[in-house]
């Protein structure tokens, strides 16, 4: 099948790379043309993108950085991401050639523009701007924005705000949208800016630090809050292996506390979970399962796994972060 349809995979949608552009030094924009059967997204949702990196299918989640109206009109969607040089996928994105076939998932997530008559406050940190661009595009296109004003606080490092011209263009199209480009070094903490918006519905997207600050204030002023925040890459400290640490292991809708001292297999067995197993030394692949997220350590080599979805063998894997697996 794949001979006729490159990148055809059961359970995935195909998309063809239309263009790849560098926005700023470390930001890259990818335009994709999903196949016709792809169910369009709601602005703010994300997709899992799978590309082949050195023979290995690698998957990462990206917010769709355009409204669904853009998709309807151009048949394209775009993704914007920060390039993490240590990352498994982003350093390779800028070298993906147009017309390459990749896989995308159905759009997922419920971080979308709330159906409310209240004013809306958007707080973006760094590349967390992307879902807001999508929401604003659609809100203006679908005339939703006339109901109540939207204000955007966009935090980024000095001179690293992207898509400024698009924000200006959006602002020109409606009187109800305003935005402020802020840097935390110059303009102070996120909290300082929030006090004026106590009666608004808050949306926040960005690194964990920003999210925590906004959440704290939201609780105080009882503002409704929707969020999407990324804990960047889980911080992994190999030196701490001698210290016993406990993580949460989610599998088939259940949760289990696991530590970093024993293999996942032995801890699942102790918890009487149904798990097939074999040699216990990484040879036979009987206890292999899909890790949906989190990082594990290979007990044979000390190697750390990728943080996204991949196959692992339970008998030679130890938890290094919280994990989710599919048994």
């Amino acid at each position: 099948m794949q001979q006729f349809k490159p990148a055809w995979r059961d359970g995935y949608y195909r998309a063809q790379v239309e263009a790849v552009r560098n926005l700023k030094s470390d930001m890259v924009e990818v335009i994709l043309t999903p196949e016709k059967a792809w169910p369009s997204h709601i602005a703010g949702q994300h997709i899992a993108l799978t590309i082949e990196v050195n023979g290995r299918l690698t998957t990462r989640v990206f917010t769709v950085a355009c409204g669904s109206s853009f998709h309807r009109e151009t048949k394209n969607i775009r993704l914007i991401t920060k390039v993490n040089n240590e990352g498994a996928i982003t350093p390779f994105l800028s070298s993906v050639t147009p017309s390459t076939w990749v896989n995308i998932s159905v759009p997922k997530g419920s971080f979308t523009l709330p159906n409310t008559d209240k004013p809306v406050l958007m707080v973006a940190g760094g590349s967390g701007i992307t879902p807001f661009i999508a929401m604003l595009e659609d809100a203006i296109e679908n005339k939703l924005i006339h109901r109540a004003p939207i204000h955007l606080l966009y935090f980024a490092k000095p001179n690293e705000h992207v898509l400024q011209s698009e924000l200006l263009a959006l602002q020109k199209r409606t009187n109800n949208f305003t935005f402020a480009l802020l840097t935390r070094q110059k303009d102070g903490d996120v909290e300082a800016h929030l006090s004026h918006f106590a009666d608004a519905h808050w949306l926040v997207c960005g690194p964990n630090t920003i999210y925590e600050q906004v959440q704290k204030v939201a609780k105080l002023v009882e503002a409704p809050l929707d969020s999407e925040h990324f804990a960047a890459l889980p911080t992994v400290n190999i030196g701490s292996l001698s210290e016993k640490e406990t993580f949460s292991l989610a599998h088939n809708g259940q949760h289990l506390a696991v530590n970093n001292q024993k293999s996942l297999l032995s801890q699942l067995q102790e918890a009487k979970q149904p798990v097939t197993y074999g040699c216990g030394m990484g040879i036979c692949h009987q206890c292999q399962c899909v890790k949906k997220r989190g990082v594990v350590r290979d007990t044979r080599t000390g190697e750390l796994s990728d943080s996204a979805e991949q196959l692992i063998q339970l008998c030679v894997s130890q938890a290094v972060t919280d994990l989710e697996i599919q048994l």
Binding site: Q2, Q3, R9, D10, G11, E52, N54, G55, R56, L57, T58, T59, T276, Y277, G278, C279, M281, I283, C284, H285, Q286, Q288, T301, E309, Q310, L311
Partner: protein, 382 residues
Amino acid sequence: MNTGGLINTKELQEAPSQTDAELQKATTPSQSISKPDYAILEAQLDAIKSEVKGKIGAEDAAYIRRIILIQRICEWSGRILLMLGFLQPVLWVAGVLSLAAAKILDNMEIGHNVMHGQYDWMNDSFINSKRYEWDIACDGASWNRVHNYEHHTYTNIIGKDRDFGYGLLRLSNDFRWRIKNLWQFATYILLSVMFQWGVSYHEMAAERVFFGKKKNNRKNQVTHSELKKRFFSKGARQLVKDYVLFPLLAGPLFLWVLSGNLIANLLRNLWTSTIIFCGHFTGDVETFNAEDCKNETRGQWYYRQALGSSNIEGGNLFHVLTGHLSFQVEHHLFPDIPARRYREMAPKVQAVFKQHGMHYNTGSFWKQYTSVLKRIVRYSFP
């Protein structure tokens, strides 16, 4: 299976082709060979593995995809040619050969290696040890349990690795001689002819699902009813596909296609059986007892893998058609490294063995095969 006298048959390493008398002599637990320094052996073999692991990537992914494409082309051209036999019988012969090649590629270079997890790193849900289902009567999951787990973990440990002799053949003095061993050469020929069914039935035979005394002390992760269900459903699927469906599709050429499929399956069975016997049952291959693998270190495990298997020398096409099981020694040392990499690993492994005074068992196809036949005949007698 009698596992009574767990005697170790370490054989003299300096004599690659032993006479029967020599084999007989070497049946007591032997201290004849100096053991290697396991820690150094482990470090050296690990180093070979990690060096190759670092190179695995796009090239290997492209290779397995290319082999799958070639296999598909062979299969479909084979099936089409079989139907053109009435035009020119030579087309039918070409069809049989092409289909047999497809089945061999599917079983050896693709199925065996993919199901070992050699390509799991690709994250491709089709080319994956858990998902791949091969064109053979044996259910993939059953094979994974018996072969990947038992055979590769407990290689040649009498009583634990049920691949040694397949419960049918007496291939060392670890087993008591019985009258049925007198005609075990005929049993061997029959096993080779029916090899896919032997492989398919292997787990059930060992579990005594249909015949014999059930062992109570065996911990099973699969119920007998599940084993039976999988055995019959996979077997039936293969029978219907090759001997009903495709022949029926050929209409009036029913018999041409039926006999073609039969011969293609037979060729595949003979080939796979022969290659596998040459990898495991040559004269110099050693057996071990359960004591040998208690608290075994990785180095000791490597040592046991090394002496429990043998290589066959040959050309490029030969290696591909054996699924690189012609590098059985490397395969047993590194079962989940993509098999095409065994070629570059072999000289390094051989050098390490040499340094430790370990016998690197290799030879031409005919040399190894003769040695297998001799072994089967030798142990036919007490």
